[in-house]
């Protein structure tokens, strides 16, 4: 079966070529004419990310915050508390599924589902490596930007259906925030799309390949690319409700915002969706500006570092590492900064980020047209 090439991966980090052989062999695995190997390959990163989002995102958040705050964080369940999140999930699964009597039952139940779907649908178009992509749409980037907006519907349903004043505030704030920040975020991503000349995520990534590694990334390809990069990063924080833009769930003002009334598994689903979107925006920013699954290591003379560290499995490694890096930055900001006020948030979006996004759009257009 597929086991024959496996002995070659004894040193996976150094033997990039045999890794590729392994994944290629898996692609060729077609029992009874069904492309099962391809399905397995495509499912690996998606399953991994879902698992990551739930367990290690939460665990990482707790450990990183503990590190920043002179604490230990979870230490009891498993070595260094590594199984803490699993214990938490078990606890949440056992909890009674409460729907408040005066809540709108339909909206209350459907809210977390829409949120979850919204945040995970975008994974379909994220290229995890040259071989791993759920759906290689030619409008992938557009799809990813658009599908995030579904989350707004989920948040509004959850907030309105809870029949709680704090939830309503959270939902209304959230809708205003996400809808506003989509504008600078989309314009900033358009800068990347203009440099690539396509909206296909896989093609955008491939255009950033090259033997010089990171020098081919769009962030370093144009002198103004850092501006849309920064704008998208800031706007993405607001889109996924992370600090300092976490006003929809501001726990000191709105108790817990739109999910005040949620408990048990529904709460866990909302949480999962939040961590899912965190990785999603991190992956998008790394695809558009930081080369996606391309290795950042350059070839140095005959020492072909770039060639060795590129390939389907390596690609998944690089994009996930890049995503982790941005998630780390998001956590770092969250545990350092206070929260903005509602009106300051809107000020930042409409009077600072949007004009600068337009400026970077025009400058990038000029760059693309006049500098080949």
């Amino acid at each position: 079966m597929i086991l024959t090439p496996l002995p070659h991966i004894s040193m996976p980090l150094l033997m990039g070529n045999s890794l590729n052989a392994w994944s290629e062999a898996l692609v060729g695995f077609t029992p009874m004419g069904l492309p099962l190997g391809l399905v397995i390959l495509a499912a690996i990163p998606l399953v991994f990310i879902a698992l990551y989002s739930l367990t290690y995102g939460v665990y990482g958040e707790r450990k990183i915050s503990a590190f920043m705050q002179d604490r230990l964080g979870p230490m009891e369940v498993g070595k260094w508390g590594i199984l803490q999140t699993i214990a938490d999930i078990l606890k949440l699964l056992q909890k009674e599924d409460i729907v408040p009597t005066s809540a709108d039952k339909f909206l209350f139940v459907i809210g977390p589902g829409i949120l979850f779907v919204g945040s995970f649908l975008a994974y379909a178009v994220l290229p995890f490596s040259s071989a791993f992509i759920g759906a290689s749409l030619n409008v992938g980037l557009f799809f990813a930007i658009g599908i995030v907006a579904i989350e707004v519907v989920g948040i509004l349903a959850a907030g309105w259906g809870s029949n709680n004043k704090w939830s309503l505030y959270g939902a209304v704030r959230s809708v205003a925030q996400i809808v506003s920040y989509e504008i600078p975020a989309a314009i900033a991503l358009l800068c990347g799309a203009m440099m690539a000349g396509t909206l296909d995520m896989q093609k955008i990534t491939m255009l950033q390949s090259g033997s010089y590694g990171f020098a081919h990334f769009f962030l370093f390809q144009s002198p103004i690319a850092w501006l849309p990069f920064l704008i998208y990063f800031i706007a993405s924080l607001a889109e996924v409700n992370r600090a300092p833009f976490d006003i929809p769930e501001a726990e000191s003002e709105l108790v817990a915002g739109y999910f005040t009334e949620y408990s048990g598994m529904k709460f866990a689903v909302i949480f999962l969706a939040e961590y899912g979107s965190m990785f999603m925006v991190s992956a998008i920013i790394s695809i558009v500006f930081l080369g996606g699954w391309n290795s950042p290591l350059p070839d140095i003379g005959s020492f072909a570092l770039n060639a060795w560290t590129n390939g389907p499995v390596w690609g998944a490694f690089w994009i996930i590492m890049k995503g982790f890096f941005f998630i780390f930055v998001q956590m770092w900001l969250r545990w350092t900064l206070p929260r903005l006020r509602v009106d300051q948030l809107m000020y930042l979006c409409w009077k600072v980020l949007t004009p600068f996004a337009f400026v970077s759009f025009v400058l990038t257009a000029i760059w693309v047209i006049f500098v080949p």
């Binding site: 705050q69 300092p244 000191s252 509602v342 300051q344």
Partner: protein
């Protein structure tokens, strides 16, 4: 676009097209929403309830409801002996138990005319100032949480932990000390206490700078607090504000200087008042600044006290503690500068009983909170949270 009230149609929103009036929306009704903030709300610092009338995010009216933590302090005092009131005073402002005990002790001592040993006075000042730092750390940390910054809170609590273990070492308790007695102390401090306090002072100096950089100088923090909840000095005085709240409004009023008690006149320290450079005088940031700067002054006081404190030789902490506290007939009002302002005790004695006829506590938090209604008018909900946080209430003292 205009809003008109046409009889029989309710409120309608109209617009003009040429000479015609076009009705856009009929039966417009906007209601104000009653929002009960508390008593189980994360940022009301305990069981305060604010009933807000909100128009969107704007609070048009906020009414504080008190009494969820009422424990009949004054009535209890009428039924126990004078020394037995000391543990009750701990439970007023439970974040600054030593200061409350101090205020109570000096009030009863005014009635008693006892000679307090000098070492007792210095130890009292040291523990009271340590507790002031601990209390300000909680105030600053929780203020950070109110504004969404979680990390400063844990930094504050890490340092507060050291103070609490020092005070625990001296008194045996972490928060409710019963350490400062009428006429003396429960015990002398442990042998190496001064050394460990000095270690704490040298450890804590850089930490105040760290806290200043992390929170007070943070751009977002300044944006959230500067110019919010401005209280002019004259209004503050009329409300009876005291402590960091009053100093935040620019009034240099500190009972340790203006109505000195204990050994404070011998000590050299400043009364920090905002100068209006980094904050607008009287706003939330000024109040926060006063607390942040006061911690440094408290460190100075502690250092001086440890230098000047007489040695422990032949010292008995209870030498002046009366066997039976039976003050002469009369009434007395004693006050002290607590971390949250002036804590005063009004005590009436009939001269025969060992129990007070009346013991009223004038609590700073209660008085400071009374301005809430004025301050909250027309603020956004996040600003309301910032204002409550800057008042720094402890509900134990508000409700008593």
């Amino acid at each position: 676009m205009q809003e008109l009230d046409i009889a029989g149609m309710g409120s309608v929103r109209v617009t003009r097209k040429g000479n015609n009036v076009v009705i856009l929306e009929k039966d417009l009704q906007t209601e104000q929403m009653v929002l009960a903030m508390g008593p189980q709300h994360p940022s009301t610092h305990g069981v305060l309830k604010l009933e807000c009338l909100t128009d969107g995010e704007v609070v048009t009216h906020a009414e504080p409801y008190l009494g969820y933590l009422h424990r009949c302090f004054e009535k209890c005092c009428e039924n126990v002996d004078y020394p037995a009131i000391v543990p009750y005073t701990d439970r007023l402002d439970y974040l600054a138990g030593m200061n409350s005990e101090f205020a109570y002790a000096i009030t009863v001592e005014k009635l008693l005319d006892v000679e307090i040993p000098r070492r007792v006075e210095f130890i009292r000042v040291i523990v009271a100032e340590l507790n002031r730092i601990a209390s300000h750390l909680v105030a600053i940390g929780t203020y950070g949480i109110d504004l969404g910054a979680f990390t400063p809170f844990l930094f504050c609590f890490r340092d507060r932990e050291i103070i609490l273990s020092l005070l625990e070492w001296a008194s045996g308790a972490r928060m409710l000390y019963n350490y400062i007695w009428v006429g003396g102390l429960a015990y002398d401090v442990p042998a190496d206490f001064s050394k460990r306090v000095m270690e704490f002072v040298t450890y804590f100096r850089p930490k105040t700078v760290e806290l200043y950089k992390l929170l007070t100088e943070n751009e977002i923090f300044v944006k959230r607090t500067r110019g919010i909840g401005i209280m002019p000095a004259d209004v503050a005085i009329n409300y009876g504000w005291s402590g960091p709240m009053l100093r935040g409004s620019g009034v240099k009023w500190d009972l340790r200087r203006n109505d000195p008690y204990s050994v404070y006149p011998e000590l050299d320290f400043e009364v920090p008042v905002p100068d209006g450079k980094v904050s607008d005088i009287g706003d939330c940031l000024s109040r926060h600044l006063v607390r942040a700067l006061e911690m440094d002054e408290s460190l100075k006081i502690i250092e001086q006290c440890i230098d000047k404190m007489p040695s422990a030789e032949g010292f008995n902490a209870r030498s002046a503690v009366p066997k039976r506290v039976r003050p002469k007939a009369g009434e007395v009002y004693g006050r002290a500068e607590n971390p949250r302002g002036e804590l005063g005790f009004y005590i009436q004695s009939d001269g025969k009983s060992t129990k007070p006829l009346r013991c009223k506590a004038r609590s700073s938090c209660f008085v400071n909170l009374s301005a809430m209604k004025d301050l909250s008018k027309g603020q956004l909900i996040p600003d309301l949270v910032a204002i409550i946080g800057s008042i720094d209430i402890v509900l134990g003292e508000v409700d008593r």
